[in-house]
C-alpha cells in the first residue's frame, strides 16, 4: 500500500473528522444513558461503524428491545450501502478480496461522498480510500468513546454543529454536478426522495431514489447522446 496515497486519503478525511467527533460524542452520551458501558460503546463503533443504526440500536435498547429486532432494523437501515459498494466496485477491479473486505468494512455515506468527489484519486488506489476511511473511522470511535467516558464535553446542538454533516453533503452534491443535465437529475432525485421519504417507512427512500433517478439519467443521456 502506497504511503503517499494513504496520507492524501487521511487529509481528505479531515472535514469528515470534524463532523464525526461531535456526532460520535452525542452517540456515546446516549449509549451510556441506555446502559451501555464505555467498552461496549467502543466495540460497537469499531465493529459496526454505522451511525444511524447505532443511534437506533441504543434507542431500542433504552426501550428494552433484545438483539434480534435491533439486528433486523440494522440490516434494513444499512442496505443502502449496496448502492455505494456497487459504485465503488467500478474503481477496484485489480484489488484482492482481502483488501476489498477491509475497504468495505469502513464504507460510510460520508466517506463514499468524499471518495466520489474525485474518482481519479481512488481508481485502483486502495491506499487513498483506506487512509480516508481509516481516519474517519478513528474519529467515530474517538468521539463515541470520549462521549461515553466524559459525557458531552461540548454542547453538540450549538456552534452550528448540527449543520456540519449536512453542509458536507451539500458541498459534495454540488461537486457531482459536472454537466448541464446533472442539475436536472439532482432535481428529479430531490423531488423523488421527498416523495419516497414521505410514503415509505425507514430509509428506503435512498435506495428507491437512486434507482429511479439513475433510470432517468440513463434515459436522458441516451437522448442527449452525452
Amino acid at each position: 500500500m502506497d504511503s503517499h496515497q494513504f496520507r492524501n486519503g487521511v487529509r481528505a478525511a479531515l472535514p469528515i473528522v470534524f463532523g464525526y467527533l461531535p456526532v460520535g460524542m452525542a452517540f456515546g452520551v446516549l449509549a451510556r444513558q441506555a446502559g451501555l458501558t464505555a467498552t461496549e460503546v467502543g466495540w460497537m463503533s469499531l465493529l459496526v461503524y454505522a451511525g444511524a443504526s447505532q443511534f437506533l440500536a441504543v434507542e431500542m435498547i433504552f426501550k428494552g428491545a433484545i438483539w434480534v429486532p435491533i439486528v433486523i432494523a440494522t440490516f434494513f437501515i444499512n442496505l443502502r450501502h449496496l448502492l455505494m459498494s456497487s459504485t465503488l466496485s467500478l474503481y477496484f477491479n485489480r484489488s484482492r478480496l482481502r483488501t476489498l473486505g477491509l475497504l468495505a468494512a469502513q464504507l460510510t455515506d460520508e466517506s463514499f461522498a468524499v471518495a466520489m468527489s474525485n474518482t481519479s484519486r481512488i481508481e485502483n488506489r486502495p491506499g487513498y480510500l483506506f487512509g480516508l476511511q481509516m481516519t474517519s473511522h478513528l474519529a467515530w470511535i474517538t468521539g463515541s468513546v470520549g462521549g461515553a467516558f466524559f459525557g458531552g464535553l461540548i454542547d453538540h446542538q450549538s456552534y452550528g454543529i448540527p449543520f456540519a454533516l449536512p453542509a458536507l453533503f451539500i458541498c459534495l452534491l454540488v461537486f457531482q454536478i459536472r454537466k448541464g443535465h446533472h442539475v436536472f437529475i439532482m432535481v428529479v432525485a430531490g423531488v423523488a426522495s421527498l416523495f419516497f421519504r414521505w410514503v415509505f417507512p425507514g430509509n428506503w427512500y435512498i435506495i428507491l431514489t437512486a434507482l429511479v433517478a439513475s433510470g432517468v439519467g440513463i434515459y436522458i443521456s441516451s437522448k442527449l447522446k452525452v
Binding site: S86, I170, A189
Partner: protein, 105 residues
C-alpha cells in the same frame, strides 16, 4: 462486556458488513454490462440528493415540514460550494450561518 451485548454487536456488524462487501466483491470481478455501468454513473448524484433534500424538508420525527434553519443555511452553502469549490469552506460557512440563525430565528 455482557454476552447479550456482544451478540448484538456481532449481529449488527455482520448484517452491516455484508451489503457493504458483497457488491464490491462481485462487481469488481465481473464484467459489468455497459447499460448497468451507465446507471452506476448516476448513483453518486442520486444518493447525495436523496441524503440532502429530506434533511431540508423533514423534521426529526419524519414529518414533512420546512426546516427553516436548515433550508436557509443550505442556500449560501450551495452557492459557495458552486463558486469556490471548497469542502472545508462550505462546512465552516454552513456551521457559521446555522449558528448565527439560531440567534435570529
Amino acid at each position: 462486556m455482557r454476552p447479550e451485548i456482544l451478540i448484538l454487536i456481532l449481529g449488527m456488524a455482520l448484517v452491516t458488513f455484508l451489503p457493504r462487501f458483497i457488491p464490491m466483491a462481485l462487481f469488481s470481478r465481473w464484467v459489468i454490462p455497459g447499460r448497468l455501468k451507465r446507471g452506476l454513473e448516476y448513483f453518486p448524484i442520486s444518493i447525495l440528493s436523496a441524503i440532502v433534500f429530506p434533511i431540508l424538508f423533514f423534521n426529526g420525527e419524519g414529518r414533512m415540514e420546512i426546516q427553516s434553519p436548515y433550508l436557509l443555511s443550505a442556500i449560501p452553502v450551495f452557492l459557495f460550494a458552486w463558486k469556490v469549490k471548497s469542502l472545508w469552506g462550505s462546512v465552516i460557512l454552513g456551521m457559521g450561518v446555522y449558528w448565527g440563525l439560531g440567534f435570529v430565528l
